[in-house]
């Protein structure tokens, strides 16, 4: 069953065509990684898919709900860790308080942050903040979770802890779409990889297919990482 179907998506900023006729599908339980050079349109694709940008053409069809983990976390600084996670389930989904609290504490435990529920975001490291923001997204019980370069704002020694969390979620068959620059991670964790270049999907397939492709741009791109 496909949870998300994007067809013929187009987006331009003034005269610049950022997305040219993008079509893709995300199946339930699938992990899709989107890679590509900066300016290739991968973040714009994610922002269109999540409704943060208005597409200029095409269709986006969802079966279910989605969450998004931002590059810069975007936690609410005036709320404690626990309130960051529970506020939307309580005030938006209007779920029962004891149930939401229980679930939030379980999520925090899973993220290794059980002792941080009373802390405020500024008191946490970048890696911890990103884990809170993943917990915040998961607390809404989304059918798909999007990640917009979740480790790009982190110090290199902190990216591992986030990648491990995502890997654990993949093992639980969480449906995820991940825009990333972590090539090894994309190779290891994904069921499907999309390589974007200049606003189009230049390669798509299994990690083996995409990373082994003869596409010149893909080779160039991977070459830069090898250096």
């Amino acid at each position: 069953m496909s949870l998300l179907k994007i067809s013929h998506l187009r987006k331009q900023f003034d005269d610049l065509e950022v997305l040219k006729d993008i079509s893709l599908e995300v199946e339930k339980g699938e992990v899709l990684s989107i890679i590509g050079p900066s300016g290739s349109g991968k973040s714009t694709l994610l922002r269109c898919a999540t409704g943060l940008e208005k597409p200029d053409g095409g269709e986006i069809i969802y079966q279910g709900t989605f969450g998004l983990v931002f590059q810069n976390f975007n936690l609410f600084p005036h709320y404690s860790v626990l309130k960051n996670i529970t506020d939307a389930p309580l005030k938006v989904q209007k779920r029962k308080k004891d149930e939401v609290l229980k679930e939030a504490r379980e999520l925090l435990k899973k993220m290794g942050l059980a002792d941080k529920e009373k802390a405020y975001p500024f008191q946490l490291s970048g890696g911890q903040q990103q884990r809170v923001s993943i917990a915040r997204a998961l607390a809404m019980n989304p059918d798909i979770l999007f990640f917009d370069e979740p480790t790009s704002a982190l110090d290199p020694e902190l990216t591992g802890e986030i990648l491990k969390v995502i890997k654990d979620l993949a093992a639980e068959h969480m449906t995820m779409v991940i825009v990333t620059h972590e090539m090894n991670f994309a190779k290891n964790v994904s069921d499907k990889v999309i390589f974007m270049d200049k606003g189009v999907i230049a390669e798509e397939g299994t990690p083996e297919e995409v990373f082994g492709s003869d596409n010149v741009r893909m080779k160039e791109f991977l070459g830069k990482f090898a250096e």
């Binding site: 409704g51 931002f70 975007n74 936690l75 609410f76 005036h78 506020d87 500024f122 915040r136 809404m140």
Partner: protein
């Protein structure tokens, strides 16, 4: 102008040339309450009104935006003293209405509220526009509606950001209440000015000075406490 002079109080000095200091203090304390009333009324009404005006100033509709921009521009670009005069005398001279002597208190309140709301509107706007777009985006993804996003996520953070500017404006307001003198409201400055004239003594001005200074010390102290209270997050 004659009306203003008539409205200014004249104290009887027939019986004793020099008024007892205690009587003088009584009159000054009456003035003090009026000053405090102007101050409180202005804050209570101009803070929410300013927020509404800032929404108008940031409206998507260009016509609405221009109207509020013009309003703010006039309120900030002309003297408050002149605005008080226009609000006090306008109904009579422009509209031919009969105004009662107590109208001057209402006129002072209206003038202060309208003027301060314009300044507060710009402070709110600065605070709201300084909010990172990521806060709105996170709220949108989590499904908050526009009102929830503003009330739960944006506004509490705006309050913290604008507090120093609000403190500044509040301290100015304490001193600006003395401008009600121009339309003869019996507040601290009006009373002390009258006493200085009738008693040929600078003492009332000294009292008035001490009053304004202490009042502002308290304002600054309270606002500092509020700032500290909001320092639980960054």
């Amino acid at each position: 102008m004659r009306r203003v002079l008539e409205a200014a109080p004249s104290f009887s000095v027939r019986r004793s040339k020099i008024m007892e200091i205690s009587i003088m203090l009584d009159k000054l304390i009456d003035g003090m309450w009026v000053s405090l009333l102007i101050f409180g009324t202005t804050l209570i009404f101009s803070l929410p009104l300013g927020l509404l005006i800032s929404f108008g100033r940031m409206a998507k509709n260009p016509a609405v935006r221009t109207i509020f921009k013009l309003y703010i521009s006039i309120m900030r670009g002309t003297p408050l003293m002149l605005q008080l005069m226009v609000i006090y005398f306008g109904p009579h001279y422009i509209l031919g209405m009969q105004i009662s002597p107590t109208y001057k208190n209402t006129a002072a309140a209206i003038g202060f509220i309208l003027n301060y709301a314009a300044y507060f509107a710009e402070i709110y706007r600065g605070g709201i526009e300084s909010m990172p777009v990521g806060q709105y985006e996170a709220a949108k993804i989590l499904g908050y509606n526009k009102i929830q996003t503003f009330m739960r996520i944006i506004f509490p953070q705006v309050v913290k950001r604008i507090l120093p500017s609000v403190t500044n404006e509040t301290i100015t307001l304490v001193k600006d209440t003395s401008l009600a003198f121009t339309i003869g409201v019996m507040e601290m400055f009006t009373v002390s000015k009258a006493l200085v004239s009738s008693q040929a003594s600078m003492l009332p001005f000294l009292f008035a000075g001490i009053f304004y200074y202490l009042f502002n010390l308290i304002v600054a102290f309270l606002m500092e406490r509020l700032e500290k209270k909001l320092n639980y997050y960054r």
